[in-house]
């Protein structure tokens, strides 16, 4: 999708090039059918000591939350999604951090609206204020901003384009997000590097927020 010949104006409206899928969602609001894989090697602190690697030079899991809701959407409490919220709350509690302590996040945006809903579930924005957060530019990479950001809190989200622009090979996405967290925290993210990223959130969800997994990663 990132190579698609589509301008911002074109992406914002229904046209032959950008047809409606399920109103108001257009093709450009949806992640695409994708082939792909992602991988990580996870190790214990004990193992790092054993092989003499510096723990401060890599990413550590600081906290996580994992919850499961009813399967049908109409049995969930939309738009609050209290069960998904529990996953995020658990992750922050375990990490002893708040959303304001983060420098970046990878958030599940299978559809454009999903990311807005996720902002509110994760506590990046108050309920009903997800749109304002986006409009403020707080979730944009500083490198791509056209105007100077003046807000009190910024958190670049989906620096690599997320599921819509990068791709969504379903089973790979959650691992890809964690690999991105690792690259950001170890300053290997190249053009999409978030400056001084020390604490990073990943949020992967399945179905209509049926299974939710939030993880907080950090570098000491």
């Amino acid at each position: 999708m990132r190579d698609a010949d589509l301008t911002l104006d074109c992406a914002s409206q229904v046209s032959d090039k950008n047809p409606s899928v399920a109103p108001p969602l257009k093709v450009s609001d949806c992640s695409q059918i994708t082939d792909g894989a992602a991988s990580v090697v996870l190790v214990s602190g004990k193992y790092l000591d054993k092989i003499g690697r510096d723990k401060n030079k890599t990413a550590r899991l600081l906290g996580y939350g994992h919850t499961t809701d009813y399967l049908p959407l109409d049995k969930k409490d939309a738009p609050t999604f209290s069960i998904a919220r529990k996953a995020a709350e658990k992750a922050f509690r375990m990490a002893n951090l708040t959303p304001r302590d983060l420098q970046g996040a990878e958030v599940h945006d299978c559809f454009s609206i999903t990311e807005i809903v996720a902002y509110e579930i994760l506590g990046l924005a108050e309920s009903g204020k997800g749109v304002e957060l986006v409009k403020s530019g707080a979730t944009a990479l500083p490198q791509v901003r056209t105007e100077k950001f003046k807000g009190p809190f910024q958190i670049p989200v989906n620096a690599g384009g997320g599921l819509i622009a990068d791709g969504h090979p379903v089973g790979a996405t959650g691992v890809r997000q964690v690999f991105e967290a690792y690259q950001q925290l170890t300053e290997q993210a190249g053009a999409r590097q978030i400056e001084s990223a020390k604490k990073f959130l990943t949020f992967n969800m399945g179905g209509s927020l049926t299974t939710s997994v939030a993880m907080v990663w950090g570098r000491d």
């Binding site: 792909g36 992602a38 890599t58 609206i113 790979a172 053009a191 997994v213």
Partner: protein
């Protein structure tokens, strides 16, 4: 946490690829991504004690399951280690990371390889949508056609979507996508 969990390395494939056109299958990208993570971690594959594979629906997309069996094909030294496959629709990948992390936290293993993979470009969009419908309540939420299953889900969300919402969000994400070529 009783034992800390660290990421020692990782890798990914370029999500632009079409495996069918390359004459490849999900097997090849599990092997490819697995090798990349081990190379990036700079460890001997023999150090890896267990493998977790995240996948949603290879059974329907590719007619191949028991994906843990591709872990030994990453390196012969991985033959014989325990592997498991996790599935929770789009959260399948995060669950494989959690499985690996909880193995370490619980003291079962010290070095775990996690691979998430999906091959979807194997069928028509309509058939693909039907397969994705398994992520929802397939037999109850799926009304007349496969596509309308997703239509039904998005209809529920529509209550609190404004057109501006999607438009504002897109502005930023498209810019990100443009400047950030995926690492191979």
């Amino acid at each position: 946490m009783s034992e800390s969990v660290y990421i020692l390395g990782g890798g990914r494939t370029d999500f632009k690829r079409n495996l069918k056109k390359e004459g490849k299958t999900i097997r090849h990208i599990i092997i490819e991504a697995g090798k990349k993570a081990i190379d990036d971690a700079k460890i001997d594959p023999a150090e890896i004690q267990a493998g977790a594979v995240g996948n949603f629906n290879a059974g329907q997309f590719t007619k191949q399951l028991q994906l843990g069996a591709f872990i030994p094909e990453i390196d012969p030294k991985l033959r014989g280690i325990p592997t498991m496959h996790t599935e929770a629709a789009c959260a399948s990948g995060a669950l494989s990371v959690l499985l690996g992390a909880e193995w370490i936290i619980g003291g079962f293993y010290d070095v775990v390889l996690v691979v998430g993979a999906e091959q979807q470009k194997t069928m028509s969009s309509l058939d693909g949508s039907d397969v994705l419908g398994a992520a929802a309540d397939y037999h109850n939420e799926k009304p007349d056609t496969a596509i309308s299953c997703f239509r039904n889900c998005s209809g529920g969300l529509r209550r609190f979507i404004s057109r501006n919402t999607a438009r504002a969000k897109q502005t930023w994400r498209w810019l990100h996508g443009k400047i950030t070529p995926t690492p191979s």
